[in-house]
Symmetry: C2
Subunit: 121 residues, 2 copies
DNA sequence: ACTATACTTCGTCAATCAACGAAATATAGG
DNA sequence: CCTATATTTCGTTGATTGACGAAGTATAGT
């Protein structure tokens, strides 16, 4: 499969685009993305794995916590340009801005609180 | 569905990316794309329709012939940037360059010849 | 060591998708 | 008008996908 195809496949889903866009403001813990999206942890974990395999995000594990960030420094121009395209294009979308607002609140809580009750975000 | 998602879905397939990239050198007739890809006409027609519905290409019908070109002048920035991303990223792919070579030969034949025998390309 | 917890992997189900061939549509040419 | 032809639409089929919950892994705290 072409690299472009792999990247496009990773981007070809509303939920994954929201997850990726949520990282625009900086690194997030998986539990914060789960709280944002309101989906099952297993589902979100899978989505992040797909983004990771496409090279669009980078993962950092600290104890039990997993952090993801946009792969803005990727050696692949295709990845960097895809990220630019996504960030530019999604900025004007209603859902994405709503997410940004919700994220502001999520970021203010300690991770433990967020992980304790995802729905309480 | 987000506009970005629709675009990414349209790009999330090797065959469709090849079809789109083939338009990089200018407008093509559907029969030329069929000859290039070596797939059933109905399949190629469907792929072009998907690209069209995502706004990535524009269609022009002249008699029985259908011509497609990249929608480089699209009013949607998301579309224009997606096209730039694709063109930039696919240029270095082996298959795409092979296709470009094959296209050179296809372009030299009259459309009637190409349409008469797709496999003869 | 034992337990709680953060995340991932796996199995399943319904929905979507790409491919094809057959049939439909539409246009050109006799 | 009638036929040939370029493309599209439709129906089918096998493969992929996204969702979930259950089970597994790994780490922190007691």
């Amino acid at each position: 499969m072409l690299l472009c195809t792999r990247i496009a496949k990773a981007l070809a889903d509303d939920t994954r685009l929201r997850a990726l866009a949520s990282l625009g403001g900086g690194e997030l813990c998986v539990c914060q993305v789960i709280a944002l999206l309101g989906l099952a942890p297993s589902t979100v974990s899978r989505h992040m794995a797909v983004l990771d395999q496409a090279g669009l995000v980078e993962k950092r594990k600290v104890g039990r916590w997993a952090y993801y960030r946009m792969a803005r420094k990727s050696p692949e121009p295709a990845v960097r340009n895809a990220l630019r395209w996504v960030v530019d294009s999604l900025g004007s979308e209603r859902v994405i801005r709503q997410d940004a607002g919700k994220l502001e609140r999520i970021r203010q809580k300690p991770l433990q609180i967020t992980a304790r009750c995802y729905a309480c975000a």
